[in-house]
Every structure is written in C-alpha cells, then in structure tokens.
C-alpha cells in the first residue's frame, strides 16, 4: 500500500500505470454486448463475429497518471473508456499487458448504485462506505461529516426512495470522497446534481488533487473534462488516438466529431 494522500514521499513514480494493455471480450458469451454492437455497428460486429468471435475493447493501451494529477479520458461510446476504468478499479483483468495502481482506489458509483431504496440515508451511507472499502467503525465516525457534505438535512432519517435524484447523487458523492482514496475513479458522475453541487464537487476534486489524490475521469461532458483534468487521453476503437493537454485534445476530438 502507498502512503496516504497528503503525506509520504513523492517518489515521482506514476500512481496508475497501464502498460501495453489489451483486453478482449468473448462475444459468444456476451449476449448483451454482442446484441448491442450488432445493432449499433452491424457491419463491424459481423466482421468481428466471423473473424475472431471476440471483441477487442482495448488494444495495446499505455497510459500513466502521476500522483495528484487528473487524467481525463474521452472518446465515443464503445471506444474502451469503461473497460479502462474497470481495469484500473481491479474488477477486470487484462488479457495482455499490466495494470498497476498504488494506493486505495475508490470508484464513484453511478446514481444510487449500492444504495437500497428502503434504507435511510444514514444506513445507506454506512453500507456504501463499507462496500467502498472503509472499516465500519470509520464510516460511523465520519458520518457527521459525510451527511454535512451531502446537505440532505432532515432526510437522513428517511428512506432513500423519498429522495430526489440530486440528493441521492450528493449522498453518493459525499460517501466516496470521505473514503480517503488515493485514486478516485469517475465515470460521468459530475453530470448529476444542480449547478451549486457541481461547483462543490469540482472544488472538492481540486482540493483532492492538491492533497495528492490521483483522478481518472471518464466523461462525455467536455466542459467538465476541461475543468477538471490536466491531461486528456482520447480513445478510439480501443487505442489511444491522442494524448496531451486538455485544450488541444478536446479541440481535436470536437473537430473530428463534427466531421
């Protein structure tokens, strides 16, 4: 395990190291994804089906993120962004190459994942904190701070099904940022909540980076990408199409999308 954020030695080695990673899915077993691809890219899927009967989601990808930096990952649907996130989160394993992450990883879940509608905000916060890797006692100790950050007021004692979607998102974000991650993974999560809460999230992310937390940020919202990341990788067909400063890469990506 690496040192906690904010302390320890800055050794300059990347916190996330993805070296020459290839990941493919056996389409024969993936009825869902297979069907989706068949509808979205019929020609490509049929070719893939006849050829290898497997779908290459990532193809020789090499990326690294240093401590306290934020890598934004952009690309069209099916370009391999989520696979990349899954590999870094440790829920997927590469077929070739290696993925190394130093420190505690915390994924920011999509709206309400891991929450139960019948449980109260407090119960859900504890459940989620433990699922994300915190000892139960620690979650309980930080409960006040979590609930304060979430700004859900009296609703903490009410079942989650009474919450607005914004409140659910705030609670989820509040739990995740109090896990004390070394690496925070985000998949399109800043798009929920109102303007004020988004501002609060971006501020928190900025504060995280200053404390040395490393961020991996996958999004279609280019404004958020420009705001949060200091480097951007553009994935296309499972390969890194371009890597560089946010303004440059986002510009090129937009240019390519228009065509």
């Amino acid at each position: 395990m690496s040192s906690p954020p904010g302390g320890g030695v800055l050794d300059g080695r990347p916190v996330i190291e993805i070296s020459d990673v290839t990941k493919y899915y056996a389409t024969a077993n993936l009825a869902g994804i297979g069907l989706k691809n068949l509808l979205v890219h019929p020609r490509r899927s049929l070719r893939a089906w006849r050829g290898m009967r497997r779908h290459t989601a990532l193809d020789g990808v090499t990326l690294s993120v240093k401590r306290g930096e934020c890598l934004g990952v952009i690309g069209r649907n099916g370009s391999g962004k989520s696979t990349l996130l899954g590999l870094v989160a440790g829920v997927l394993w590469p077929n070739r190459g290696s993925v190394r992450v130093r420190g505690r990883i915390c994924p920011l879940l999509e709206l309400g994942a891991g929450f139960h509608p019948e449980l109260t905000g407090i119960e859900n916060a504890i459940l989620n904190g433990v699922l994300l890797g915190m000892p139960r006692r620690q979650v309980v100790k930080r409960l006040d701070r979590i609930l304060e950050f979430a700004e859900i007021g009296d609703f903490v004692e009410r079942p989650l099904r009474m919450y607005s979607s914004g409140m659910v998102a705030r609670l989820g974000f509040a739990v995740a940022v109090h896990v004390d991650p070394d690496v925070l993974l985000m998949d399109e999560v800043l798009s929920v909540g109102d303007e004020r809460f988004r501002k609060k999230c971006t501020d928190k992310l900025q504060e995280f980076r200053e404390r040395g937390v490393t961020l991996l940020f996958v999004s279609h919202a280019m404004e958020s990408v420009l705001e949060v990341s200091n480097e951007v990788a553009w994935l296309r067909g499972g390969k890194v199409e371009a890597l560089g400063s946010p303004a440059e890469i986002v510009g090129r990506y937009r240019e390519a999308s228009r065509r």
Binding site: Y25, A89, V91, I105, P135
Partner: protein
C-alpha cells in the same frame, strides 16, 4: 477485524432491515409461510390421503422450517450477483460476501422461528430438552455450509448460464419430494433409504426432526450432513474462484 466481516455485517443488516421495515408483518411472514405449508400438507396427507403417521403435524413442523431456510437460500441464489450488477462492475470487494450474507439472513429467519417450533412441541406435550441447546448450533452450522456451498456455485454459474434460474426451481421441487420433509424416514422403502438419508438435505432434515422430537441426533446422518456441507462449500468456492475474475464482464 478483517474487512469482509464488516461487509457481512452491513449486508446482513441491510437484508434484515429491508425485510422487517417495509411491512409490519415482516417477522410473521417468515413464520407464516412454513406454518401455512404445515396446515395444507396436514389436511392433504392426514385427512385426504389418510396417511397414518403418529404426531404428523409435529413431523411436518420440525422439518418444514429448516427446509424453508434451505429452499429460500437456494431459490434466491441465482440473483445474488445479478442484483448487485452495478457494484460488481465498478467496485472491487469480496463478492462471495453477498452470497454468505444472503445465507445468513435466511438462517436468521430460521432461528427467529425456532421458538415457534418449540411452542408447538410443548403444546403437543413434547418435553423441552437440554440437548436442543448444544445441537442447535451444530446443525445450524452444517446447514449453513450446505446452503452456502450450493448458493455460491449457483450464483456464480448463473452469470454465465442464465437459464440456471429455471433449472434451480425445478431441481428444488424434486429435491423437496426426495427429502423426508412430508414423510418420516421410516416410511421410505429400505432400498431407497441410503439415498434419501444420505443426501445432505435428507440428512439435515432427519437430524432436525430427531433432535426436536426425541432430543437425539443420529450421528450417521450428522456425519453425512457435515461431510456434504464441507464438500458443497468446497465445490462452491472452487466454482466461484474459477469464474470470479470474469464476473464484471458478464454480469
């Protein structure tokens, strides 16, 4: 304390709370089910089929409650991982805790219902026994192993073969009739008896019934139940470990 114990605690807490919160009949539902079955089977087999078995109602009660636990655990198992798809895709945590938590929850329901079994026995004139106190944890452990092993294997395999869910309910139905729940073991013809008493569920039910009615646990059946439980858990772990790395791809 290892993290999986914390996980287990919050997951069991969640299941119990969800079960008992929404409906105020929560606890009674978990008792009502086996009781209703007892009533139905009693009427059918005692008054219609006219099965001549001594204390038939007690024969049913002492078997239907533990069977209900096994049945609930195994029937729910195909969806344990499917229902947690969004977590499995994003978060790295020991996924087997979800299945163990489910099995624990059903076990808790069973333990909550034990006083009901005891009340029935006492009202029918059966004596309360000291033996219950120390055999109960042992039989519970044996059944926990059986239920967990099967559930873990089914929950894992169902991600790859979704039809398993239908197959499971069919197999459970056959297993129910092949297990001495509705009839005492003594009614089974000699030739089939090893098969009926030797399968883990048959052995467990034989032990439970004998413990509640007579205060003794037949050691042969206990050995069969424990061995079966250990083997099934080993099998479940094996299946889980060989498939687990692909869960996030297929869920």
């Amino acid at each position: 304390m290892p993290h999986w114990m914390d996980l287990l605690r919050v997951l069991v807490g969640k299941e119990l709370q969800v079960r008992y919160k929404g409906s105020f009949l929560g606890y009674f539902w978990s008792v009502l089910h086996p009781l209703a079955f007892t009533a139905v089977f009693y009427v059918v087999f005692r008054h219609i089929v006219r099965l001549e078995v001594e204390h038939y109602a007690m024969v049913l009660v002492t078997a239907l409650f533990p069977w209900q636990w096994l049945q609930n655990s195994v029937s729910a198992s195909p969806s344990w991982f499917l229902d947690n798809a969004s977590l499995i895709k994003k978060v790295r945590f020991p996924r087997w805790t979800v299945v163990l938590a489910g099995t624990f929850t059903d076990m808790t329901h069973f333990l909550f219902a034990v006083p009901v079994i005891v009340a029935f026995l006492l009202s029918e004139g059966f004596p309360a026994r000291v033996e219950w106190l120390y055999w109960l944890p042992i039989l519970t452990l044996a059944q926990l192993l059986v239920a967990f092993g099967i559930s873990l294997a089914i929950a894992s395999m169902n991600l790859f073969l979704r039809d398993l869910e239908r197959l499971t309910s069919l197999v459970m139905l056959i297993w129910f009739y092949g297990t001495p729940v509705l009839y005492p073991l003594s009614r089974v013809p000699e030739a089939y008896r090893p098969l009926v008493a030797g399968n883990p569920a048959g052995a467990l039910i034989t032990c439970w019934r004998s413990l509640f009615l007579e205060g003794v646990v037949p050691l042969g059946a206990l050995a069969a139940a424990l061995t079966g439980g250990l083997l099934l858990t080993a099998f479940g772990v094996l299946v889980y470990r060989s498939l687990q790395w692909r869960f996030a791809e297929v869920v």
